[in-house]
């Protein structure tokens, strides 16, 4: 009897919460008329925003993966003093609000010495499209690093040792053995990084300024159009973001069978 109540309770909570979550998402999707959604999707502002989001996210994901593979491998394979500290520092941005991360980056990239050095080689980060990518990279890297680290951890170092005993160098063993074995985890990391980049809001808003039709990515379009009281545009960017996240999560779940988080 008690067992049944316990199970029924758990099932009830699950159904209640998941049901409300689905209801909330569906009510956003079905609130505006389709004509409004189509009009908004093909407006100059939305097309600009979609294109900019995709372009910056693609670049950011490439950079994030280089970072995630390097840091993930260091964490998974090497033992050194400060190992735990490094993990904590890398994970830290996941815990605090994006706005805080944005403010930190603004102070780093907007002030000397870094701002002066970058200016000399012609790179402008604050209030620029480069700034969007930088914001996305710093937001997404911790998530991707986590997934890639877990993937490397799940591969026994013995494979590399065998490869090295057969004459491979450290780099060749990594490139020919570990990396291919971790490819499921790498793809999963890239998908998570892409989803985080597309949805990155607070960091982009503060570092890149959130200027209409200039540093306007999809979440900024959503935010600006709420400020303008333009609901159709706001809801359409919300729907696009939900669809993109959905595609990312489904891809992630398919690839995720190969890694243990």
């Amino acid at each position: 009897m008690g067992n049944r109540i316990f199970k029924a309770g758990l099932a009830g909570i699950t159904v209640l919460f998941v049901g409300m979550l689905l209801w909330a998402m569906l009510s956003l999707i079905f609130m505006p008329s389709w004509a409004e959604v189509v009009d908004s999707t093909f407006s100059a502002e939305m097309l600009y925003s979609i294109r900019l989001s995709l372009a910056t996210s693609a670049i950011s994901v490439a950079v994030v993966m280089v970072l995630a593979v390097s840091i993930g491998y260091v964490l998974a394979r090497f033992r050194f003093p400060g190992h735990q500290l490094l993990r904590t520092v890398v994970d830290l941005p996941m815990a605090f609000p994006e706005l805080v991360l944005g403010l930190c980056l603004l102070l780093l990239f907007g002030h000397d010495p870094l701002a002066g050095w970058l200016k000399r080689i012609g790179i402008d980060i604050v209030f620029s499209k480069t700034g969007i990518a930088i914001a996305q990279i710093f937001t997404a890297a911790p998530y991707a690093t986590r997934v890639v680290y877990a993937a490397f951890r799940s591969i026994s170092p013995r494979y590399e040792m065998v490869a090295r005993s057969l004459g491979c160098g450290q780099w060749t063993a990594f490139w020919k053995v570990t990396l291919p074995m971790a490819r499921g985890g790498l793809f999963a990391g890239a998908v998570i990084a892409f989803a985080r980049c597309m949805g990155c809001f607070g960091t982009v808003l503060i570092l890149a300024g959130g200027t209409r039709m200039f540093t306007e990515t999809l979440p900024i379009t959503l935010y600006l159009n709420i400020s303008y009281g333009n609901l159709a545009m706001a809801m359409t960017s919300g729907i696009l973001l939900i669809l993109i996240s959905l595609a990312a999560i489904v891809t992630f779940e398919i690839l995720n069978h190969e890694v243990v988080l």
Binding site: I5, G9, L103, S227
Partner: protein, 261 residues
């Protein structure tokens, strides 16, 4: 034994849940006041003063003027509307969202040029904003009252085109303007005078005044929302913030109650 304790937990949870609404919904419904984000400092004190005097609880919702306008339009609820500029109350009255009778203008809202401490761009006048190389921030014209007003001032002085070339960012709230100026990411922005009075900004920013002939000085309006279910209490709030007691609080936070010369 185990089942029994789980049952007890469920019972407590169930009881707690049924009690919750009773706790939250007893007592009188607070007055909901939609206030421009730039008015935060005096509004917090006005709320405290009003609550102490009339024993009526007040809930403040801050946002960009356009955002608040949209919120009242979609939620069809709320009691008092206090945006950053007269125009929004006029529009709300036209659309039947705000009562025409009983409106008060509570104080003046004066645009100024705000520069980082030490004035690194040496900005002394509106004309200096057009000087090549000066980095200028203006608020988004659709999202924030100050953005619209800044455009009007530049147009009035035939500076719009030259200054546009120097605008590096168009954030959607006045508070973002202040952050960028205080952290020296821009040489100047057009903001409200009272922002310079705020504690956070002390020592970080300086004011450059715009002569009255070149300026566009606004009044801060307040009106009762037509959807209000407690319109008489809402009117008491509107009258209170325009009373002599209210006006001293506005003045304390840098909002002039006499038209500046």
């Amino acid at each position: 034994m185990k089942n029994k304790s789980i049952q007890t937990v469920w019972l407590i949870l169930f009881l707690a849940l049924t009690c919750l609404p009773g706790i939250a919904w007893s007592g009188s419904e607070p007055l909901t006041v939609y206030s421009g984000a730039g008015l935060m400092k005096p509004m917090d004190e006005l709320k405290a003063g009003f609550e102490a005097r009339y024993k009526i609880p007040v809930r403040l919702i801050y946002g960009g003027s356009g955002e608040l306008f949209g919120m009242i339009a979609t939620r069809k609820a709320g009691d008092v509307f206090i945006p950053g500029a007269e125009k929004y109350v006029k529009d709300a009255t036209k659309k039947g969202m705000a009562r025409a009778e009983g409106q008060r203008s509570v104080c003046y809202h004066v645009p100024i040029i705000l520069v980082p401490a030490g004035n690194p761009g040496n900005v002394q006048s509106l004309q200096d904003l057009a000087r090549p190389g000066v980095r200028v921030a203006l608020a988004d014209a659709k999202a924030a009252a100050i953005g619209k007003v800044a455009n009007a001032i530049l147009k009035k002085n035939s500076l719009m085109e030259q200054v546009s070339g120097n605008v590096v960012v168009r954030p959607s709230t006045t508070n973002q303007l202040l952050i960028y100026t205080a952290t020296r990411q821009v040489d100047a922005c057009i903001a409200w005078e009272d922002q310079a009075t705020w504690g956070e900004a002390k020592g970080k920013v300086q004011i450059v005044r715009i002569p009255a002939a070149q300026n566009a000085i606004k009044t801060i309006p307040s009106a009762v929302v037509t959807y209000s279910k407690q319109a008489d209490k809402a009117q008491m709030f509107v009258d209170y913030i325009a009373s002599p007691e209210g006006k001293t609080l506005w003045q304390k936070w840098g909002f002039p109650i006499n038209k500046p010369e």
